[in-house]
Symmetry: D2
Subunit: 366 residues, 4 copies
C-alpha cells in the first residue's frame, strides 16, 4: 500500500521531520482528497514552531494551500460558490471549519470566534487518523463542510499562495475597520499582512498610504504595491521622528485609519500616535499573546478613537480575496511575492527562511 | 453700579471664594445675559478643583446650568431649535462653543475635538471681562453662537440639572457605541454618568442592564432607574467574583456592550473581561488623565472587540437629552437625583459634598 | 394504525377540509415529530386561501405554531440556541428552511432570499409524504435543519402565537430600517404586523409613535400597546387631513421613520407623505403582489429618502422575538391579542374570522 | 464707472442675453469679488432654460465655476479648509449656501435639505443688486459664508470644471448608497453625472462597472474612465436584451449597486431590474420632476431592496472632490471631458451645445 509523506512539527524549536502516513481510503460523504500543489509558509507557522500558541503536536503544518482535487466523497459536487467540482480541479479552501451552531456562530454572528473552530495545519494531531490535515504534505484530506473554492484557470497558483491567509485576514480586518475612498491610511508593518492590508486599503480607494516597517527590501515591495510613503523603522531615529514623518504625510493631524500589522505590542501605542482624533485603529497583528504594554486609556477617550480587533476570517473573505485577485492586477503583485521555493523534503529549510525574514514569501512545492 | 456675585476657584484645592463683578452692560450682537436659576456640581468640577486638568484660574466654575433670560443682544431672537426667545424664558445651553471652521469641525466631522473649543465654567479666566462665564454665579453672559435651548414649561429645572452633562455625555457615547434593543449591557460605575448611561441604554431597549459600582445608595438609585442587576464593588470579593456575577447575568459569555463610567484606569481591564467576544466597549469615563495600566492588546484582537472613545457632546445631544426628558418618565427619575441644594454663598460646601460622594446630585440655587 | 388529522386547503376560496394522514414513522436523522398545541391564523393564510400567491395545493396551512416535542430523530439533541431538547418540551420553530449554500445564502448574506427556501404551511404539497408539514394539524413532522426553539417555562404559548410571524417580520424589517431611540415613527396599519412593528419601535426607544389604521378595536389595541396617537383612516377625511394630523404630531416636517404594514400599494405613496426629508420608509407590508401605483421617483431624490424593503425573517429573528417576549412585559400584551380560539375541526371558521377582520388574533387549538 | 458683463436668462426658452451690471463696490465683511476664469454648462442649466424648475428670472446662470480672487472683504482670510486666501488665488466654491439653523440643518443633519438654501446661478434675481450671483459672467460677488476652496497649483482649472457639480453630486450620492470594494455596479446614464458616478465607484474599488447609455461617444468616454462593460441603449433592442447583458456581466443575479443617472423616470423601473436581491438602488438623476411611472412596490419588499435618494451636496463633498482630483489620475480624465469652449458673448451657443448632447463638457471662458 502506498504512503503519503508530510513535514511534521514533532517538537517545538526542532527541525521538521518528514514522515509517511498511509494513503487515506475513499473519502467519506462530503470529504475530499487533494494533492498539494503549493503550500505557503505563514509567519504564524514560525510562532507555532516556537511553541508560542497552544496546539497539539505532532502536527502537519500548512494552512495556506492550493491543491488539485483527487477524489471527491459522496455528495461533494459543488464548491462553496456552487460551481461544479471534479477530480483534477485546482482548488483552495478556508483553513478553518466552524460548528455553525454555537453561541458565536448563531446568536452573535461572530463565526471567527466559534467555540469549536478547527484549522488545517494547526489544530489536528498528526498521530491520529487520517493524519493528513495540513498543507506541508503531498496530500491533504479535507473534512466535510470545508469551504472549497475552485480556482479560475486564469488565476495563477502563485497569486493565491502569495496572498495567503494574510490577504483574507486583512480583508476581514478592514471590513471591521473600514477604509473609505479618499482616506489616509498608515500601515504598521511591511510583512505579508502589512502588504495585504496595503493592497486592500488601496483597492478601497485610500488616496494616501504610508507604510512603516522594514527591512529595505520589504519597503521596496510596499512601494511596488503602491504605498505613497514608506518609513524605515530602523532608519528613522525614534518614535518622535517617525511620528513627525507620518503627520507630515497626513496633513498634520494623523491618519484616518491606522492598521497595526506588526505583532509586537509596542506597536499599539505607536499606532495610536499616528491616528487623528476620531480615527480608527485596527489591531490586526496581535495574533499571538506577545505580552502587555503600559497603556493610558485616557487617550482613547480624549482622542475619541475606535480601537478595533479582528480575528481570522470566514469563507466569504476567501471568496472576496479570490475575486480581488482574479478581477484586478493585484494577482500579479501577489504572485511576485513568492521569492523562495522548496521541495517537501526541505520544508524545515523553508520555515527557517521565513523565520529569518529573508524572503518575500516562501512556499513548498511537494 | 450694581455688582454680580460669583463663586470663584482662585487656587487649586482651596475653598471657593465669593467675588463680585460689575454688572455687564447691554449684551452685544448675539449675546445674552441670563440670571442663573440652578447650577449643577459636576464630578469634573472636583477634578478641576484638584488641579487635575489644565485650566486658567481664577475661574467661575459651573457648566450645567439653567437660567432665565434677562437681556438678549441684537439679532438673538431664536433658540437653537428655532423657537422664539424672549426675556423671562427659562433656558439651558450647550457648555461648549466650537469654531465651526477647523480641521475637526469641518473636514472630519468631529466637532467635539474642535481645536478652538471653549467651555463655560472651565475655559475662561474670571479676571478678564466680562468675567461671568460660569454657572456658579448670579448671572452669566452667554457668547454669540452659544447653543441656547428654551426649556418647555412642563419640564422641571430639577430634571435638566439633575441629568446635567452626564446625560449629554452618555448620549454622545452611546451614539458612538450603540446599544441595540435586546442587548445586554454592563455599566461600570453608578455615579451620574453611570446612571445616565443606564437611562440611555434602557431607553434604547437593552433588555438586561447590570451596574457595577457603589456605594449602596448609588446602587439603590440604579435599581430605581431600572437596572436588572447591581454589583457592589466593595462587597463583591474581587474581580473574579464580579466577573462570575456578570457572566451569570449575561448567559455565560459576557455583555454585548460594556460602558465604562468610572474614571479609574483599572476599570478598563475589568470592563474588557465583562465583554463578550465581538462586543463593544465604550471608554466613557477616562476624561481626566488618571494614568496608565498594564494592558495586553492581544485581548482586542483575540476577542475581536471594539474599544470606542467619546469626548464631550454637541448641541444636538443637548437637544436629544431635553427631548428624552420631556417626552418620557425619565424626567422624574433625574429630578429625584437632586439631593442637596446650597445657596451661592455656600458653593464651596456644595462642591465638597460632591467630592465626598455623599450626595445624589448637588446643586447651587443662587 | 393511527391517523393524524389536518386542515387542508384543497381548492382556493373553498372551505378547508379535514383530512387524515398516516402517523409518520420514527423521525429520520435530525427530524422531529411534534404535537401541535396552538396554531396561529396569519393574514398571509387568507392570501393563500384566495390563491394570491403561487403555492402547491393541497396544502396543510399554518406557519405560526407552538408544539410539544413527541419524538426526536437521531442526532437531534439541542435546540437552535444549544439548549438540550427532549420529548415533552414545548417548542416553536422558524417557519422557513434555507439551503445555506446558494448565491444569496453564502455570497450576499441575504438568506431570506435563498433560492431554495421552503416554508411550513406554505410550500409543501400535502399529497406527498410525509404530508404533515403545516400547523393546522394535530402533529407536524419537522425536517432536519429546522431551527427549533425550546420555549422557556415562564413564557406562555399565547404570547408566542399571539406575536406570530408578524413580530419576527417586524424585527427583521426594523433591523433593515432602524428606529433609533428618540425617533418619531408612523406605522401604517393596525393589523398584527402593524402592532408588532409598534412594539419593536417602542422597544427601540421611539418617543412618539403614530398608528394609522382601523377599525376602532384595532386602534384601541394600538393605544394599549403604547401608540401616542392613532388615526382612523375611515374617520379621517382623506389623505390631506391624515397628513395634517401626522405633521402635527411630528413637529411639522414628518416622521423620522415610516413603516408601511398595510399591503395595499396605495399606502406607499401615502407613507412617503408622512416621512420627513432624509427619513426612512420601510415597505414591510407588500408581501403579495397587489399591483402597481402611479409613483413619482423625483420624490425619492428631492426628499432624499431611503425606501427599504424586507422579506421574511431568519432564525435569529425568532430568537430575538422570543427574547423580547420573555424578558419584557410585551409577552402579556401579545398574549392578550388572542381573541378567538377554535378546535381543528373548525379551522375553516377560524380562517374566515381572520379574513373578516373581526378578531385580534385567531388560533386553532387542536 | 466700469461695468461687468454677464449672460442672463431673461425668458425661458429664449436666447441668453448679454447684460452689463455696475462693478460692485468693495466687498462687505466675509464677501469676496472673484473674476471668473471658467464656467461650466451643467445639464441642469438646460432644465432651467426650459423653465422646468421654479426659479426667479432674470438670472445669471452658472453654478460650476473657477475664479480668481480679486478683492476680499474684511474678515475673509482663509478658505474652507483654513488655508490662507489672498487676491490672485485661484478658487472654486460650493454653489449653495445653507442657513445652518433650520430643522434640517441642525436637528436632522440633512443640510442639503436646508429650508433656506440658495444657489449661485439658480436662486438669485439678476435685477436685484448686487446682480452678479452666477458664473456666466466676468465677475461674481460671493456672499459671506460661501465655502471657498483655494485650488492647488498642480490641479488644472479644466479638471475642476470638467468634473463640475456632477462629481460632488455623485460623491454625496455614493456616500448615501455606498459602493464597497469588490462590488459590481451598474450606472444608468453616460452623461456627466453617470461618468462621475463611474469614477467614484471605481475609486471606491468596484471590480465590475457596467454603464448603460449613449450616444456612442459618451460610451467611449465611459470605457476610457474604466467601465468594464458598456451597453448602448439605442443599440440594445429593448429592456429584456439590456437586462440579459447586465445579468451576464454580474454573474446572473444583478448588480450589488445600481446608480440611476438618467433623469427620465422610466429609468427607475429599468434600474430595479438590474439590481440583485438585497441590493442598493441610488436614485440620483431625478432632479427635475419629470413625471410619474407605473410602479409596483411589491418589488421593493420581495427583492428586499434599498432605494436611496440623494439631493445636492455639502461643502465637504467639494472638498472630497478636489482631493480626489488632486491626488489621483482622475484629474486628467475629467480635464479631457472639456470638448467645447466659448467666450462669454457666445454663452447661448454654449448652452445649446450642451442641450443637444453634442459635447463632452462645454465651458465658458470669459
Amino acid at each position: 500500500m502506498s504512503a503519503v509523506r508530510a513535514a511534521v512539527l514533532a517538537q517545538f524549536e526542532q527541525p521538521l521531520e518528514i514522515r509517511s502516513y498511509p494513503e487515506p481510503g475513499a473519502p467519506g460523504p462530503g470529504e475530499a482528497l487533494a494533492r498539494v500543489e503549493m503550500a505557503g509558509i505563514c509567519g504564524t507557522d514560525v510562532h507555532l514552531w516556537l511553541g508560542q500558541l497552544a496546539i497539539p503536536i505532532p502536527v502537519v503544518l500548512g494552512h495556506e494551500t492550493v491543491g488539485r482535487m483527487e477524489t471527491l466523497g459522496p455528495g461533494l459536487e459543488k464548491d462553496w460558490r456552487g460551481r461544479p467540482l471534479q477530480p483534477g480541479d485546482r482548488v483552495t479552501w478556508a483553513s478553518s471549519i466552524i460548528c455553525g451552531e454555537c453561541y458565536y456562530c448563531r446568536q452573535k454572528a461572530q463565526p471567527t470566534r466559534c467555540l469549536n473552530r478547527k484549522a488545517y495545519g494547526i489544530s489536528y494531531n498528526a498521530d491520529e487518523p487520517p493524519h493528513l490535515r495540513g498543507g506541508y504534505a503531498e496530500k491533504i484530506l479535507l473534512r466535510a463542510g470545508t469551504a472549497i473554492f475552485r480556482i479560475p484557470d486564469e488565476l495563477p497558483t502563485e497569486a493565491v499562495v502569495g496572498a495567503g491567509c494574510a490577504l483574507t485576514t486583512a480583508i476581514h480586518g478592514i471590513e471591521r475597520a473600514p477604509v473609505n475612498w479618499g482616506d489616509t491610511v498608515v500601515i504598521q508593518g511591511s510583512g505579508p499582512v502589512g502588504l495585504a492590508a496595503l493592497a486592500v486599503a488601496l483597492q478601497a480607494g485610500a488616496t494616501r498610504a504610508i507604510v512603516t516597517g522594514g527591512p529595505a527590501h520589504r519597503l521596496e515591495r510596499a512601494r511596488e504595491f503602491g504605498a505613497h510613503v514608506t518609513i524605515d523603522v530602523a532608519a528613522a531615529a525614534g518614535l518622535a521622528e517617525r511620528r513627525r514623518q507620518v503627520l507630515d504625510a497626513t496633513g498634520g493631524y494623523g491618519a484616518d485609519v491606522v492598521i497595526e500589522c506588526v505583532g509586537h505590542p509596542d506597536a499599539v501605542n505607536e499606532g495610536l500616535e499616528y491616528c487623528r482624533d476620531g480615527g480608527r485603529f485596527l489591531v490586526l497583528g496581535q495574533y499571538a499573546d506577545a505580552g502587555s504594554i503600559s497603556f493610558n486609556p485616557h487617550t482613547v477617550t480624549r482622542k475619541q478613537l475606535q480601537m478595533i480587533g479582528s480575528w481570522g476570517f470566514e469563507p466569504r473573505h476567501v471568496d472576496r480575496a479570490l475575486g480581488l485577485l482574479n478581477e484586478t492586477g493585484w494577482k500579479h503583485r501577489f504572485a511576485r511575492q513568492i521569492t523562495h521555493r522548496f521541495a517537501l523534503d526541505r520544508a524545515d529549510e523553508a520555515l527557517q527562511t521565513t523565520r529569518q525574514w529573508i524572503s518575500g514569501k516562501t512556499v513548498i512545492v511537494p
